[in-house]
Structure formats: structure tokens, C-alpha cells
Symmetry: C2
Subunit: 124 residues, 2 copies
DNA sequence: GTAAAAGTTGACGCTGACGTCAAGGGCAAG
DNA sequence: CTTGCCCTTGACGTCAGCGTCAACTTTTAC
């Protein structure tokens, strides 16, 4: 696959893919003319990368994780790192849930106030 | 309260507080000598700000939300924005949960593999 | 009264994940 | 052959939330 195909299949820009390659997150072979060629499973890999970015991991961390993500094999040190990141994720999710709850109660109050002042448009 | 007190009470740097003021997130009066003085509830406000930052909101968004967060009053437009952000948060949390699950299954595989190869240190 | 601690206003630095030109080369179609 | 689209490297730009001097002033403690 060429870079544009991978980009649209994975929903990222070609710039992002070149950046990922520079960060050693993905690899490519080259055509005779020097164009990048990707294995099909690169798309899956890129989706993983996006997930891990969204989870707050850095390129440096992701590049360490990706091998064992694919092979399922990790040394004890890597297992500890994986656990640590999972626990960080858990904590972050708890914080988000708390924030969401507080935001929701603010919303409830605002909606109640809106209905009381007769603003029909704000009602569910 | 002076800036240092608020900073340590809220767990942020003084630099952050000055930045928040510049972004109109908090206000201060001044002493005769020109030093910032804060109302005690500023601490709570700063905690809110931190929560919303952690939830991925920008200063621009937070400055719009904070008034109705405190008063519980919001126009229909603001209520829509609040709902939108809450929904974004929900979606983000779902993504994080999915990522966490996938990470966890990788971990399970790695741990299993580690026990099979007799690496006691990696066992729970 | 004086030294230390805490505060003030600039202003530049930093980090990360790309966006965005610029100036060209590769490649299938007609 | 040339049109047009996709690709290449290189390099500078961006944005946000602060960190970090620097050079002073205010306040506090003794």
C-alpha cells in the first residue's frame, strides 16, 4: 500500500504517517522510485497508535509498547510498565467520571432553572 | 489570601495562577503595594479549572463555562454547549475504556507467557 | 533596620504532534 | 509526451500551558 491509501484507511494524514516512521512507530519499504510502501497490517498498527495517543501515552512510550502489543510477549520490566500505564489510565478514568458527574449536576441545575424561567427551547 | 497560599492550597504553581488570571479564569484585587489578593473560594475555582483542563477543555472553553458552573444559571445556548462537552467526555471515556481493555488483554497474554517461561518475578 | 522570603512584570523557552509551504520526482492514462 | 495526481525531503510554523530566568519591589521576621 502507498502512503495515501494507509492514511485514508486509518484516518490520519500522510504527514502523521511520516512522523510515525520518524518516531520508529511504523516501518516501510521503498518502491524503485523511492516511494514508501506499507504492509496491510500497518493500518491496524496505526489505529493502535491513535488509541494509545488518545490515552495520553507519548511516542517514546508507545514505541516501547508496540512490540509486545503485537507479540504478546514482554519481559518482567515491560509487564510492570504495562501495569503502571493501565493503572494510570484507571485513575484518569475515575477523574474523568467525577468531572463528568459534576458537570452533569451543573447541567441539571441549569436545565431546571431554564424550565422554571419558561425557556422551552432548553427542555429535553 | 496571597498567591503563594492559593497556589499551595490548590496544588498549582504561582505561574499557573498568573496565567489563569491572564486567561480571565480567576480574578484578584491588589494590596497597597501591588500584590495580588484572592478571595478564599478562588481555591475551589482553581480546582474546577484543573478538573476541566484534565477533561481536555481549553482555557477559552473553561472561561465560558465557569460562570454557570458557579451560579447554576445558563442560557439555552450554554446548556447546549454543556451537553456537547459532557457527551464528548462520555465518548472519550468509552474510548479509554476500550483501550484499557485491549491493554489489559495484552497484559494477560504477556503475564501468561511469563509464567509459562518460569519467570516468577512477573507473577501476581 | 535589615535580611530573607515572597511577589511583581516582562519576556524567552519548551514540548509534542503534527500543519504547511517549497521545490522537485514518480507513474498510469490518453 | 504531457497532463495530473501522488509522492519525496527539508524546514519552518503552530498552539497551549505553563517553566524559567532577570531585575526589582513588598512584606515579614527578628
Amino acid at each position: 500500500m502507498r502512503i495515501g491509501e494507509v492514511a485514508s484507511a486509518a484516518g490520519v494524514s500522510t504527514r502523521a504517517l511520516r512522523y510515525y516512521e520518524q518516531q520508529q512507530l511504523i516501518v516501510s519499504s521503498r518502491s524503485a522510485g523511492g516511494q514508501r510502501l506499507y504492509a496491510p497490517d500497518t493500518v491496524e498498527r496505526v489505529r493502535w497508535i491513535q488509541l494509545l495517543y488518545a490515552a495520553g501515552l507519548s511516542s517514546r512510550t508507545i514505541v516501547e509498547f508496540l512490540p509486545c502489543v503485537h507479540t504478546g510477549i514482554a519481559g518482567p520490566e515491560m509487564i510492570a510498565r504495562l501495569r503502571a500505564e493501565r493503572d494510570r489510565l484507571d485513575e484518569h478514568m475515575r477523574d474523568l467520571a467525577a468531572t463528568r458527574a459534576r458537570l452533569d449536576s451543573v447541567l441539571a441545575a441549569a436545565e431546571f432553572d431554564a424550565t422554571r424561567s419558561g425557556d422551552e427551547a432548553a427542555e429535553v
